[in-house]
C-alpha cells in the first residue's frame, strides 16, 4: 500500500510514467491517435463529408471505389464513405452511453456489496451470477425483444449485459480497502460510511475501472453493431456500421465487396483502438499486470 498501488496520488510521476509507456509502446500511441481520429469524425464528420449520406442516386448504384466515391456507392447510389464517417457518431454514442450507464450502476452496486458485505453482498452477487448465467449477447437480444425495438433499448440492453463486469471489479477493489489504514483514520475522524465509501475508497478503485471501461467499450461497440446487424435497434436508412454491413452482406456473393468491407473495417478499427487503449491503460495504471 505505498505509492505504487495508488498511482492517482503521484501526479508528476504518473505523467512521466505515461510518457515512458507511450514511448516504449508505440501501439498505445497509435491507439491514442486513432481514438482522436474517431472522436474527430464523430464531432465534425457530418459537416465535412463529401456527399449527403442519405442522397440516393439510381444512376450511380453499386459503383466500385473511385476518386469521386472513395469507398464506392451502395445499391441506392449513396456514397459509402460519407455514410461510414457519419455513422461514427451514432456508433460511439450508443456504446459510450451504454458503458457510462453500466459503469455508474455497476460500480454503485459493486461498491455497496464490497463495502457492506453480508446480505447486501450475497444479494448483489447472486444477481450478478444470474446475469452472467446467460450468454450475454443472447440476453441482450431478449431484453431488446421484450422492451421494444429502439436505439434507446439497445443502449439499455448493452448496459445491462455489461453491468456485471464493473460491479465485479469495483466490489473487489472496494473490499480489499475496506479495513485499510486510511479508511480507519477517516472513520475515526467521524465520517459516515457512505462518505468514506464515496470520497476515500472509491477514488482508489477508479484506475482499474478505467481499464475496464476501455476494454469494455470495444465489446460494447461489437455488441451494439451485432444487434443492429440482426435487425434490432437502428433502422435503415440511418447510417450505422452494423446495419451497413448487414445491407452489404447481400452483395458479397455477387462480388460487390465494398458495401460491407468499409463499414466492417471501421467497426474493426474502432474495437481494435479501444482494446489497444485498454491494454495500454493497464500498463500505465498497473505495471505488474503487463504480459
Amino acid at each position: 500500500m505505498t505509492s505504487t498501488a495508488e498511482p492517482a496520488r503521484a501526479a508528476p510521476g504518473l505523467i512521466t510514467h505515461t510518457l515512458y509507456v507511450l514511448r516504449s509502446n508505440p501501439i498505445t500511441l497509435l491507439a491514442f491517435v486513432l481514438l482522436a481520429l474517431f472522436v474527430l469524425a464523430a464531432l465534425i464528420g457530418p459537416y465535412v463529408v463529401p456527399h449527403d449520406p442519405y442522397q440516393s442516386n439510381a444512376a450511380n448504384a453499386l459503383k466500385p471505389p473511385s476518386w469521386q466515391y472513395w469507398f464506392g456507392t451502395d445499391d441506392l447510389g449513396r456514397d459509402v464513405f460519407s455514410r461510414v464517417v457519419v455513422a461514427t457518431r451514432l456508433d460511439l454514442l450508443i456504446s459510450l452511453s451504454a458503458v457510462v450507464i453500466s459503469f455508474f450502476a455497476g460500480s454503485t452496486l459493486g461498491s455497496l456489496a464490497g463495502f457492506y458485505g453480508g446480505w447486501t453482498d450475497r444479494i448483489v452477487s447472486r444477481l450478478l451470477d444470474t446475469l452472467m448465467a446467460f450468454p450475454l449477447f443472447v440476453l441482450a437480444m431478449g431484453i431488446v425483444a421484450a422492451m421494444g425495438n429502439s436505439v434507446q433499448n439497445i443502449v439499455i440492453a448493452t448496459a445491462i449485459v455489461n453491468l456485471p463486469f464493473y460491479a465485479r471489479v469495483s466490489r473487489t477493489e472496494v473490499n480489499i480497502r475496506r479495513e485499510a489504514g486510511f479508511v480507519q483514520a477517516a472513520r475515526l475522524s467521524g465520517n459516515s460510511n457512505l462518505r468514506i465509501l464515496a470520497t476515500q475508497i472509491f477514488p482508489n478503485a477508479l484506475p482499474p475501472m478505467m481499464v475496464q471501461i476501455s476494454l469494455n467499450l470495444g465489446w460494447a461497440i461489437l455488441n451494439a453493431a451485432g444487434l443492429s446487424f440482426i435487425g434490432l435497434g437502428v433502422r435503415p436508412p440511418t447510417p450505422e456500421w452494423g446495419i451497413m454491413v448487414a445491407e452489404g452482406a447481400r452483395f458479397i456473393v455477387s462480388g460487390e465487396w465494398w458495401l460491407a468491407l468499409f463499414p466492417g473495417a471501421a467497426l474493426m478499427l474502432a474495437v481494435f483502438t479501444f482494446n489497444m487503449l485498454g491494454d495500454g491503460l493497464r500498463d500505465i495504471v498497473d505495471p505488474r499486470q503487463r504480459s
Binding site: 447472486r126 451470477d129 444470474t130 446475469l131 452472467m132 448465467a133 446467460f134 450468454p135 450475454l136 449477447f137 443472447v138 440476453l139 437480444m141 431478449g142 431484453i143 425483444a145 421484450a146 422492451m147 421494444g148 425495438n149 470495444g218 461489437l222 453493431a225 451485432g226 446487424f229 440482426i230 435487425g231 434490432l232 452494423g242 454491413v245 448487414a246 452489404g248 452482406a249 458479397i252 456473393v253 455477387s254 462480388g255 465487396w257 460491407a260 468491407l261 466492417g264 473495417a265 467497426l267 474493426m268 474495437v271 481494435f272 482494446n275 489497444m276 504480459s291
Partner: protein, 341 residues
C-alpha cells in the same frame, strides 16, 4: 476417494439449481414484467381495447405477477414454451428440431479453435519473444477485435466468390442433396452412418466456413489463456526440479506443465462458451445456417414473442449445463479441486 468425488459432483449439481432458478426468473421478468404488451401484440393491429382485455384474461396476464410466475413454472415443467406465430408450431418442437444444427456448428468451431489455440499458446509460452510468440499476440488481438459477422462475410467473399472453393452460404446442405436420416442430428456424422460419403462431404464443405468463422473468434481468449497459464506453470518450482532431475523436455512440457496449465484454460472455455453462443446467432445469419440462432433472428423480425423467449431460455439452460460440465471436468483434470465456493 471415489465417494468424496461423488460428493463433490453432487454438491456442484446442487449449486446449479439456484442458478437455473435465477435464469427462469429473469426470463419470466423479460417475458412478463417489462414494458411491451404481449396481449396487444397477439390481438393484432386491428384490435379493440375489449379484445385485448379478453386475450389478456385468456393468457392469464391480468393475474398478479406471483400467480403468473407459478403458471409459468407449471408451463415450463410440462415443456410448454408457447407457440410460434410465424411457424405455427410449438416453440419447443421448433427449437428442438433446429438445435442440432446449432450444436454441430458450435462444437465443430470449439474443436477447431482448441486444436489451433492450445498448441499456439504452448509454443508461444515455450518460445517467448520469438516469431511464434508475436504471431500469437497478433492473432489474439485481431481475434477479439474482429466482428464475427464481418469475418464470416470476408471468408465468403474470398473462398466462395474469388477462389470458388467453398460452396454458396446457403445453410447446412446444398439443395441438390437430400438431408441424411436423423440419428445424431449432425449432418456429417449422420451421412457417414448412413453410408453416404458424398453427402457427408457436401455437408462438411458447408460446415467449414461458418465453423472457421466462429473458431477465429474463439481462438483468441483460448490462446491467450494457454500462453499465460503455461508461462506461469513453467516458472514454478516443480518444473525447475523436474528439469534438474534431468527429465526430457517433452515429459516436462506435456506430463507436468500442460496438465497443470489445463485448469485455467478450461475455466476460460466456460467464458468463451458465452461468447460463442452469442456469436453463433450472427454466424448463422451470415451463412443462412438453420439453427436456433437464425430462428430467433427470424422471430425477432416479425416480433414473434414466444419464440424469442423460448430461444433465450434454451440458450441460457444450454450455457448453465455447459458450465456444469466444465466444472465437473475439473475433478477429472485436477483431483485437488473442491467446490466450496
Amino acid at each position: 476417494m471415489t465417494s468424496s468425488r461423488g460428493m463433490i459432483v453432487l454438491k456442484r449439481l446442487a449449486q446449479a439449481i439456484p442458478t437455473l432458478f435465477g435464469v427462469i426468473v429473469v426470463t419470466f421478468i423479460i417475458t412478463r414484467a417489462l414494458p411491451g404488451d404481449p396481449a396487444a401484440y397477439f390481438a393484432g393491429p386491428a384490435a379493440t381495447p375489449e379484445s385485448i382485455a379478453q386475450i389478456r384474461a385468456g393468457m392469464g396476464l391480468d393475474k398478479p405477477l406471483p400467480e403468473q410466475f407459478v403458471r409459468y413454472l407449471q408451463d415450463l415443467a410440462t415443456g410448454n414454451l408457447g407457440s410460434s406465430i410465424s411457424t405455427g408450431q410449438t416453440v419447443l418442437s421448433d427449437v428442438l428440431s433446429r438445435l442440432p444444427a446449432s450444436l454441430e456448428l458450435t462444437f465443430s468451431a470449439l474443436l477447431l479453435a482448441l486444436v489451433i489455440a492450445v498448441p499456439l499458446g504452448i509454443l508461444a509460452a515455450t518460445r517467448q519473444g520469438t516469431f511464434v510468440d508475436h504471431l500469437c499476440r497478433v492473432v489474439v488481438t485481431a481475434g477479439v477485435s474482429l466482428p464475427v459477422f464481418f469475418t464470416g462475410l470476408a471468408l465468403v467473399y474470398v473462398f466462395y466468390y474469388i477462389l470458388g472453393v467453398a460452396p454458396a452460404p446457403v445453410g447446412r446442405l446444398d439443395f441438390i442433396y437430400i438431408s441424411p436420416p436423423t440419428i445424431t442430428g449432425f449432418y456429417v456424422i449422420d451421412a457417414l452412418l448412413a453410408g453416404d460419403p458424398e453427402t457427408a462431404g457436401a455437408a462438411f464443405k458447408q460446415l467449414i466456413l461458418p465453423a472457421a468463422t466462429l473458431a477465429i473468434f474463439t481462438l483468441a481468449p483460448l490462446a491467450r489463456m494457454t500462453r499465460a497459464a503455461m508461462l506461469q506453470v513453467l516458472a514454478s518450482d516443480f518444473i525447475r526440479t523436474a528439469r534438474a532431475a534431468g527429465l526430457s523436455r517433452r515429459k516436462i512440457l506435456f506430463t507436468y506443465a500442460f496438465r497443470n496449465a489445463l485448469l485455467p484454460v478450461v475455466t476460460t472455455l466456460g467464458m468463451v462458451f458465452s461468447f460463442v453462443l452469442g456469436a453463433n446467432v450472427l454466424v448463422e445469419k451470415v451463412f443462412a445456417w438453420p439453427g436456433i440462432g437464425s430462428y430467433a433472428v427470424e422471430a425477432l423480425v416479425v416480433s414473434d414473442y414466444a419464440a424469442v423467449q423460448g430461444f433465450v431460455l434454451v440458450m441460457a439452460i444450454l450455457f448453465v449445463v455447459m458450465n456444469l460440465l466444465i466444472d465437473l471436468s475439473y475433478t477429472v483434470i485436477d483431483p485437488r479441486v473442491g467446490f466450496d465456493g
